[in-house]
Symmetry: C2
Subunit: 354 residues, 2 copies
Amino acid sequence: MADIAKRFASNPILRPQDVKPSLEGLQVECLLNPGAFRYQGKTALLLRVAERPQQKEGIVSTPILDPEAAGGIRILEFRRDDPDLIDEGDPRAFKYKGQTYLTTLSHLRLAWSEDGVNFRVDESPTMLGQGPLESFGIEDCRVTEIEGTFYLTYTAVSPYGIGVSMSSTTDWQHFTHHGMIIPPTNKDNALFPEKIGDYYYILHRPSGFGIGGSYIWLSRSPDLLHWGEHTCLAVTRPGMWDSARVGAGASPVRTAAGWLEIYHGADEQHRYCLGALLLDADNPAKVLARSREPIMEPIMDYEKAGFFGNVVFTNGMVVDGDQITLYYGASDEVVCGATISMQEMIHFQSQMGG
Amino acid sequence: MADIAKRFASNPILRPQDVKPSLEGLQVECLLNPGAFRYQGKTALLLRVAERPQQKEGIVSTPILDPEAAGGIRILEFRRDDPDLIDEGDPRAFKYKGQTYLTTLSHLRLAWSEDGVNFRVDESPTMLGQGPLESFGIEDCRVTEIEGTFYLTYTAVSPYGIGVSMSSTTDWQHFTHHGMIIPPTNKDNALFPEKIGDYYYILHRPSGFGIGGSYIWLSRSPDLLHWGEHTCLAVTRPGMWDSARVGAGASPVRTAAGWLEIYHGADEQHRYCLGALLLDADNPAKVLARSREPIMEPIMDYEKAGFFGNVVFTNGMVVDGDQITLYYGASDEVVCGATISMQEMIHFQSQMGG
């Protein structure tokens, strides 16, 4: 079995029922894909909390952000037998009159831990979508500390498209919204935690339309706000575990061998595994090594079945010496943890020809 | 009829047979979508020249750029009866083993004129695609003069995707390649010809995948190389002439009323018309007016039939006082010209409620 992740015995460590809904009438449907960081001696997760209205017989509904609605959220309801409704069986989305809607609305919420295993979730949202480019919610936030400031880069969803937006904070109380930094269609961003030469760098995942695919790209910026020099870093590999889509996970980690990036890959059956990329320390556009076999696969019950099964997906980790503690979303429903030894991973990769 | 463009009597002004192929064995299939500018008292077009190999019975072929091939171009050939070949009837593209290929390879070539009507085309290409992100060619270049430098922003096509890349020149002899400035999937870019406040601005067209559509976006840059603060400027309008796709044309023109941008819109039948957007002079994210009816439609024979019929598409124009001379691609095959009076356009727009 191609899996070197040591899962927490207490997995899943957080489930939807552990989180208080943000508004009466909503229920937390999924808890997923947290960013992770250390702050004032604690380990923190910035969870993606996906909510939807209580389900009613014969009705498809979705919440959307609307500053003019009570509580800031408007519920759209459609009859299941409405001929303008198209439900293709994806639990995450449906279409009405040509417009795609998500079934859930996501916000970001902090959870704190003394030991990195037992977390208590804040009572209310840390960050909601704001403005017209985030009206369908904000998702899958990466947290990257650069020179004492935490940068929150996340997927912003709205009828205008799916792109990467950024906020920052130094104290986790006050946030500055920096707007959309990578235009649609884009997600799976990961800032490098330091400048390399004169530039900041980011990994991101455009979606090809017509030509191209769901590949990992690299871009650079003088100021974290404006990005250019876009290049393609890693493509999908036909016949392998990452044949359909690839996307960056959390921020790359500087190691003696280069930048280590744990990324996700999905195949045509939408099975999501994790693998690793090793990038040149001085020139991150240069890929030194890439996993032939996944380092982690959906094998546990909570990884194989759920809101959207057969998914392990990470965008948050913390590092202690040789040990990576990986926080991950399982089956798009619960949050789990696992540890990986970097030495073991490098040994495993070289054995597998990666 | 909603059309205020006065077409040149000599249209089409340039046809494929007016252009010498770049390499023996290739034929010029389409001549289309030129950038336009003035230089040293002349009017110049930067044409998109689309070439393909001589057609053979039972064979589908395409040229791709390959620095290691003789002449820098490698011809791929597939048998029409190959089960891995998927030809969905679009003359512009086909699929083989899941990879989309264009039927033609485009380069950019200059044509010069004393009177703005009669052009002579250079004997050889001005700019070919270069590097892995342009191996399927470069297309639909906008030419924008900013502070004495001409910026060439164009669609870069490769198996990695379709994005916007940039080169610059001051003398039309030496070019600097600046790489990809807007990541996939993107095209239909238009630089503003001057800074507004502290920033340069660009219009561009991401393609929505899953959520979003083919809409016109606006972004800003401190240096023309790195772009951010992406916002959506104009979306498609159901039931109207621009119901399926919209995209910017040439660089916006500063007028007393604001920035005037002539853009294209297509409907579900892929009929391409032109309309106008008026943007606030100091805040181009603010749309002051937009054409309800097109200002130009495919009505002439050469606009209705050709390589891809029912298309008028512009990305190049020159301005003299009140008169815009619009250069445009007709039916993705030939290049034409027309003039429009800005006064008449504004009068027409207000009459039409635009």
